[in-house]
């Protein structure tokens, strides 16, 4: 019998043996597939959102300067712009006006931003898709706002921001500086924070240190720190993702340990009979290798494909309740799919190889003992 045909016969026998314990092995396959699905979903989601955040925020401000008063972010005087502008290497300084508005009618938090280049007229706003959805507003509608002194003003929705930008604009309301100051009572000489453009990006840390020295009540935040924030937030090592991964991995380890530390009496007897009818130790090990491989490879392939469909086709519905938290506005976005073969290889070696090995070791122990002793137990 040729080598390939022999292996096929062993696979035939292995599958028959697995099918004899249909319920147990079926449950095993389902649990295994779920573990791979969960791990792969987390991996694909975090990888895609990290890549998306890095790509989208690559054009974020080079340096943002906040003023801190009593440990809290405070409005920054615009005359700080002159002091920062005088630092060598600073190309431009501008004030940003932005803030939050809680809409009691819909229970949603909006982020109000004043664009540097005036986009609409006085009394006009542009809203993100999330705002339009939650407040049922469309172009031409009016939205009521309570001003800081209790008045009710209405602003007209002149534009709804494109759906493709929802990941960064879902809760945005763009308005004029005059309307912003009128709504929140922000006086003329201050801004929310300052944006600093730097001539040479390599000088950003030096300029940030100079700003912190020159204006000790400020906190400069560089673009690299913004990018690192998202990298850390969605890394494998953070928060709930670690908890999910650790839980799944521990469950899997217990599972593999249980498998590795002992064969059932029935399995031992089967090995004994096979040895007695002339199977060699190598054949028994090949059978056990295929047994482990059939289950782990099938679970791996099914789990990874299902995870891809879950994350990139169905937009990760299982993660949505956690990601959504208590927020009323949640962006509808589809992540740009990315498949990292290196990560898939890590997952493969993490879930397939240990299982295949774990099934071989006890079988090798049973197969090297005298068949008579094995059958007698």
């Amino acid at each position: 019998m040729g080598g390939v045909e022999k292996q096929r016969c062993i696979i035939d026998f292995t599958l028959s043996s697995l099918l004899r314990r249909k319920g147990k092995n079926g449950a095993l396959l389902v649990v295994y597939t779920l573990v791979v699905f969960l791990l792969a979903s987390v991996m694909l989601f975090t990888q895609a959102i990290r890549k998306e955040a890095a790509a989208v925020l690559a054009d974020a401000p080079e340096l943002v300067v906040q003023r801190i008063v009593a440990g809290r972010h405070d409005l920054i005087p615009l005359d700080y712009m002159g002091k920062i502008g005088a630092i060598r290497g600073v190309r431009a300084v501008s004030g940003r006006l932005w803030g939050y508005y809680y809409d009691p009618l819909f229970g949603a938090n909006y982020t109000l931003v004043v664009p540097e280049e005036q986009a609409g007229g006085l009394g006009e706003i542009a809203v993100g898709q999330g705002v339009a959805r939650s407040s049922m507003a469309s172009e031409g509608n009016i939205m009521p706002f309570h001003t800081h002194d209790g008045r009710l003003v209405s602003l007209t929705v002149a534009r709804v921001l494109p759906a493709s930008t929802e990941l960064v604009s879902s809760d945005l309301i763009l308005l004029t500086a005059e309307d912003f100051r009128m709504l929140f009572g922000v006086p003329a000489g201050v801004a929310t924070d300052l944006v600093v453009a730097v001539a040479n990006p390599a000088e950003v840390p030096t300029i940030a240190a100079k700003i912190a020295r020159l204006l000790p009540d400020t906190r400069p935040i560089a673009r690299s720190e913004i990018l690192r924030t998202y990298d850390a937030a969605f890394s494998w090592r953070s928060g709930i993702l670690l908890a999910i991964l650790a839980g799944a991995l521990l469950a899997f380890l217990i599972f593999a340990w249980d498998k590795a530390t002992g064969l059932s009496a029935e399995e031992r007897r089967e090995i004994g009979i096979l040895k007695a009818v002339g199977w060699e130790t190598g054949d028994v090990l090949a059978m056990k290798f295929w047994e482990g491989s059939v289950i782990s490879l099938s679970a791996f392939l099914a789990g990874v494909v299902l995870a891809y469909l879950h994350v990139f086709v169905a937009a990760a519905p299982l993660f949505e309740p956690v990601l959504k938290g208590w927020s009323v506005l949640y962006p509808r976005f589809r992540l740009t799919p990315s498949l990292d073969f290196a990560q898939l290889a890590v997952l493969f070696f993490l879930v397939v190889v240990p299982y295949a090995v774990a099934t071989i070791v006890p079988a090798w122990r049973a197969a090297t003992v005298d068949p008579d002793a094995v059958m007698r137990g």
Binding site: L57, Y330, P337
Partner: protein, 102 residues
Amino acid sequence: MTLRRSTVFISFTALGLAALFVIAADAGLRGRGAAQALAQKRWLVKSLALTDLALFTDARYTRHPAMADLHSPFQDYPISLEHFPSGSLMPPPPHVRTHGRR
């Protein structure tokens, strides 16, 4: 004629591998198709000087984690419990943790 069990397994594995290649191709194609949407997002980030993704709108420090002030992960007092589920997903930014030690 019934199929050999090994044929069924080999076919299933081949199908699974083919599905892996199909999703890899799909990822590549959709990645290229998303270039325009990415350009729009980048333009918006640049023109509005945005610093954060609009993922979690429940609290200041989850909506703008990069802009969060030094006390915001604790909100009311240093050992207060986290209010929001998204806070467990979003750890304090690294530059907040290393503040004063760089």
